[in-house]
Amino acid sequence: MPEQPPYQPEGAMAGTGMGGTMDLAASEATTLEKTPGGPEGTGPEGKPRSLWSDAWHDLRRNPVFIASGLVILFLVTIAIRPSLIAPGNPLTCDLSKALDGSQSGHPFGYDGQGCDVYTRTVHGARASVTVGVCATLGVALLGSVLGGLAGFFGRGWDAILSRATDIFFAIPVLLGGLVLLSVVTSTTVWPVVGFMVLLGWPQISRIARGSVITAKQNDYVLAARALGASNSRILLRHIAPNAVAPVIVVATIALGTYIALEATLSYLGVGLKPPSVSWGIDISAASPYIRNAPHALLWPSGALAITVLAFIMLGDAVRDALDPKLR
C-alpha cells in the first residue's frame, strides 16, 4: 500500500470533508471554521496539534488574556513575597499619623489606625489570593468529582446529588455566612475557605455533571467499552479530558467572585478577623472616614476591583479559547 498515494493528502491534508450527507450550508460554514490549521498547520512537516495546544495558541494572541494574565502574575508574586515591594510591617501602626495623606515613603497615606495603607494593601493580596485559589481548588475538586460520578453512573447517584445541590442552592450565601462563620473564632483563612467550598461545590457539580453526560454520549466512549475498557479507564482517559474544559472556565470566573466574597464577609466582620490583613477588613475599617480620608478606602477597594476583574476576564478569555463551537 505504501506506493499507492491516493489516500495521502497532498500538501494541505485536512480537507473540509464534513459529514457527507448532512450538508446544510450552516454546517459548511462551521466546517470552514473547524478546518484545523491552514496549509501551514498541517502540511507534511505539520506538528501534531492537540486541542489544548490550539487553545494555548489562541490565548497567547489574545490581548485580554495577556493583560489579565500579567495582572494575576503580579498579584500572585506579591501574595507570595509581599516584602519584595513593601518591606514594612503591616501591623506596625502609629496612631498619631491616623488618616494622614500621602507623604514621601508612604505613597498611599495612613488609615484610621495610623497604619501604612500601601503596606497593608500589598500584604492584603495574600489573604485574597489564598482564599480565592484554595476555595476554587476545593470547589472544583469536590464539585467535579461528585458531579462527574453522578453524571457517569446516573440513576440513584444522580437523583441524590441533584436533590443535594438543590438544597445547597437554596441557602442564601450571605445569610449562611453570617450564621455559620459568626461562631468561628479562628483568625486563619480556613474557615472562610471551608465555607465557600461548602456552598460553592453545587455550582461546579452541575456543570461537571452536564459535561460528563455530554461526553458520555460520544461514540468513542462506546468504542472503548466495546473493547472491554474498565469504568475507571473510560472516566479518566475518555470522559474527564473531554469534560474538563467547562469546569476550568467556570472555576476561573468563580475565583474572582470568591475573592469578592471574602472581602464582603470580612467587611461584615465574619470573614477574616484582625490581626489578619485583608482588603475586606481595611475597606470595613476605612468606610467611616470616607468623607475626610477617602484614600484609605480607595486603595484597598481599587485593588479588590482590579483583582476580581482580572480573574473574570481571564475566565472569559479561556472560555473563548476552549469554546467547543469554534473547534
Binding site: 470533508g17 446544510l24 450550508a25 450552516a26 459548511e28 470552514l32 478546518t35 491552514g38 496549509p39 469554534l326
Partner: protein
Amino acid sequence: MLLEVRDLHVEFRTRDGIAKAVNGVSYGVDAGETLAVLGESGCGKSVTAQAVMGILDTPPGRITGGEVLFQGRDLLRLREEERRRIRGAGMAMIFQDALSALNPVLTVGDQLGEMFVVHRGMSRKDARVRAVELMERVRIPGAAQRVRDYPHQFSGGMRQRIMIAMALALEPALIIADEPTTALDVTVQAQVMDLLAELQSEYHMGLVLITHDLGVVADVADRIAVMYAGRIVESAPVHDIYKAPAHPYTRGLLDSIPRLDRKGRQLYAIKGLPPNLMAIPPGCAFHPRCPLARDVCRTDVPPLYEVSAERASACHFWRECLHGRS
C-alpha cells in the same frame, strides 16, 4: 430566465484565513424547470443558495462579486426590505432539517397562517382556513385536526410536507430545496420527492434542487450543474450527463456508485480528498485527483468550454472525457 446567477463569489473569514467557498458560479433556471445542483459537502452548493435567498450569515460570509438576477432584477443591489418582500412571495426555501426549521413552540397552523397574515394581511381566522387548505394540498391526513398540532408531533416525512406547504403558501415563482429528502428514509423520500415534483408542475415553478444524491437527481431534474470547490465544473441536460459525462469529476462520481452490473469487489473510487477551501489547488482545482491531469491543468484554470448548445464543461480535456473512458 426566472433566476440567473452570474459569476457569484463568496468568501468566509475564519480564524485560519479566508475560505473561498464560491468562486464564480453561474447558473440559470426557467419557470417550470428543475435545476439540480450536485456536489459534495463543502463544494459551495448550499452557500450559493443562501446567497441567492439572501440568508447568508454575514459575517463570517461575504459576497465579493457577481449578480443574482431574479425576474430581471439584481437582488444583490436591493435594499433589505425589498429582499424580504421577495423572500416568501417571490422565492422560498425548503431545508433539510424540517424539525429545526420549524418553530417548536407554535402550532403548524399558526406558522402556516403567519405567512398570510404578514404578507397578505389576512385575518387570523381566514389564515387558519388557508393553512388547512395548504396541509390538504400536501396530503397531510386529517389536516383539519392536525392544524393544531406542534411540529414535534409529526413524523419526519410529514414535517417535510409542512415545510413544503410553507414554501408554497404564497405561490412563489421559485423554490430552492436544499437536500430536502436527505434526512428521510428511502420509502418516505420517494413520497416527498413525488409530491414536490407534482406541485412544481402544477404551479409551474422554477425549482433549484441542491443535493449530493445522484439517484434523486436522475429522477427529477431537467438540468444538472455539478459543483466542485466553489465552481460549476459541468452543466448539462440530465440525460446527457448520465450517458456521457464531459468532466472527469462527474465521471468519477457516477462510476463510484455501486451498481448491480458491476458487482465486483472493487468499486471505482476517486482518489484523494476534496480540497481545503483555504488552499484550493492552482489551475484546475480537481487536478490532484484527476486521472486525465496534465501540466496545463496545474497552471491554467479551465474556463467553461461549450460542449454543445446546452452543455458546458470546465475541463481542458472534455473531448477526451466525453469520448471514451479514462
